[in-house]
């Protein structure tokens, strides 16, 4: 009888293989989700993003004013932007604000996350507090800071009462401090966002590794450099990219507090796009500015993503 066993097993094996194949076939027939379900979402993506950006890019090369017919003007809008000091200023301020925003928000967010990560008893409460402004309207927050920076506002009152009256100034009305005051508003609101992203990254740092290093007597810097930082790399990628995009798009705080003033010191690309397109109705010129903003965000964000991803692998 023994000699039959392999045959029986082979038969059983082929039968189960056949059953599995039939199951797989049925599964494929039943389980295949039709692409039709994706249609509304895909249509929204195409209509509101790619097609709209395509049309917008076309406007950038016309002199359209939103009403009459338009004609192709080639690079004239872009030449005008390059020749216009206020448009050049807007480009420069956008980069300054976004650069400062990414560096400060991530530095503060990382510091808060490292401080809050372990052992601290009030960490849940503190995390909620630091993250709270992220949920609030940037416009509403801007008004609160508007009073702090106002000539008779909180900052000057505090400076006056500690004997630093010489530093008092109209923070938002002074061309040399206005842009940096706006930066403070942005950093205050979004440091909690970076913190939360770094805290999520820190959760992947295993307690065992960390304690083993403590026992081995590794220095704090060594622990940070060799254990914490590599594990934080994905969080840094997400946080830096997200804050970069927020920084380059900044609009609400400026519209509320300075509207580009004083003397264009806080003019940015998003503000100029709004002003030129929807206030002066220069659709072609506004589209050219918006195209520059789009190119900036896309190139910067994708480059940053690629660089950080590469570093992630190296760490």
């Amino acid at each position: 009888m023994d000699s039959f066993r392999p045959v029986a097993e082979a038969a059983r094996g082929s039968r189960s293989a056949a059953v599995a194949r039939a199951l797989r076939l049925r599964r494929r027939r039943l389980g295949q989700v039709p692409w039709a379900l994706a249609l509304p979402g895909f249509a929204a993506l195409v209509a509101f993003h790619f097609a709209a950006i395509g049309f917008g890019a076309y406007y950038a090369f016309t002199n359209w004013n939103g009403l009459a017919h338009s004609s192709w003007v080639g690079l004239r809008n872009f030449r005008e932007i390059v020749d216009d000091a206020s448009a050049r200023g807007a480009l420069w301020h956008t980069l300054e604000l976004a650069g400062g925003f990414v560096v400060l928000t991530n530095a503060i967010g990382l510091a808060l996350a490292l401080g809050l990560n372990r052992a601290v008893k009030t960490r849940h409460l503190l995390r909620s507090l630091f993250f709270l402004p992220v949920a609030l309207s940037p416009l509403a927050i801007a008004y609160i800071w508007g009073w702090i920076f106002y000539y008779q506002g909180a900052l000057n009152r505090v400076l006056g009462s500690v004997g630093l009256s010489s530093l008092k100034r109209d923070w938002l009305g002074n061309p040399s401090t206005a842009l940096w005051s706006i930066l403070v508003v942005m950093v205050w609101q979004f440091s909690g966002l970076a913190m939360v992203l770094y805290l999520a990254g820190l959760q992947s740092v295993s307690e065992d590794i960390y304690e083993a290093m403590l026992v081995d007597g590794a220095s704090p810097w060594f622990r940070f450099r060799k254990v914490v930082l590599p594990l934080l790399a994905p969080a840094m990628t997400v946080s830096a990219t997200l804050t970069l995009i927020i920084g380059l798009r900044v609009f609400d705080q400026l519209k509320a507090l300075t509207d580009g003033q004083p003397v264009g010191a806080t003019e940015t690309l998003a503000l100029e796009v709004y002003q030129q397109t929807f206030y002066l109705l220069r659709f072609g010129y506004g589209a050219a500015l918006a195209l520059i903003l789009t190119a900036l965000i896309t190139v910067f964000a994708l480059t940053q993503l690629a660089l950080l991803r590469r570093n992630e692998q190296r760490l």
């Binding site: 039943l30 389980g31 295949q32 989700v33 692409w35 379900l37 994706a38 509304p40 979402g41 895909f42 929204a44 209509a47 993003h49 709209a52 950006i53 049309f55 917008g56 890019a57 406007y59 939103g66 401080g115 372990r118 052992a119 601290v120 009030t122 909620s128 507090l129 630091f130 993250f131 992220v134 949920a135 609030l136 309207s137 416009l139 008004y143 609160i144 009073w147 702090i148 008779q152 506002g153 909180a154 959760q203 307690e207 994905p234 997400v238 798009r249 609009f251 519209k255 509320a256 796009v273 709004y274 929807f278 659709f283 506004g286 589209a287 918006a290 903003l293 789009t294 965000i297 964000a301």
Partner: protein
Amino acid sequence: MGLARYSRATFLRELALILVAAVFCLPLYLLVAIALDTTAQSFKTPLSFPWPPHFGNFAQAWHAGGLGNLGHALESSLIITVSSVACLLVLGSLCAYAVARRQGRLSNVLYVLFVLGIILPFQLAIIPLYVAMRHLGLVGNYAGMILLNVGLLMPLTVFLYTGFIRALPRDYEEAARVDGAGLLRTYARVVFPLLWPITATAAVLVGIIVWNEFFVALIFLAGTRYQTLPVALYNFAGEYVARWNLVFAGVLIAIAPVLAFYLFAQRQLIRGFSGGVKG
């Protein structure tokens, strides 16, 4: 997290953090203190907390500004946010279901396109969209604003759902299909309920973004009776320049719903933002 020792260094660190948090909260203290000031107090003693508090600013802020006032704006914001989020959750999850469950090149390409849609700013897209929607009579009303929110936030919604569905086992839906349930019935009865955690996260994240959105609402709704809270607040603050106690009362009215919401939805919001870290 394991049981880390609570040493002296930890205690000092905790103390330092609490101090930082106290300074960090000063703007919020000022907001409440000044919103409760009389006009005279707001100029003389703005830094001290007014006692007794003066609640009259809220009534005045609530009614100022005619048809586009904060009271009406609260209603508009609610209608626009709830409708936009509902459409996004239904259409976004369906779309993500197909993208996540189909395998192969097309599905990967679509996923990348949706991610690109998140990164691309809407400042350029909004110009032709404004022109097209003006032709279609969709500027200055709810329908247009809701459509716009759904279109602009679709990539983010699909991205959130796709990541979640990819990690979800197929067993339940396959069992339902084998038992003879149709595709849509399977989706509505089996798949969608399983998506509840990400639905909550997406609803909170997208809802907050729509609620606070200012740039697009300013272009499409400013000056109409359908304007949302940020637009109404912008007009209100512009009208009452330097009447800080009134402006701050308006600001508090505008952020109060989110403040209340934050108390129980912050976990979802944090999860929504940090989704990219783990994925």
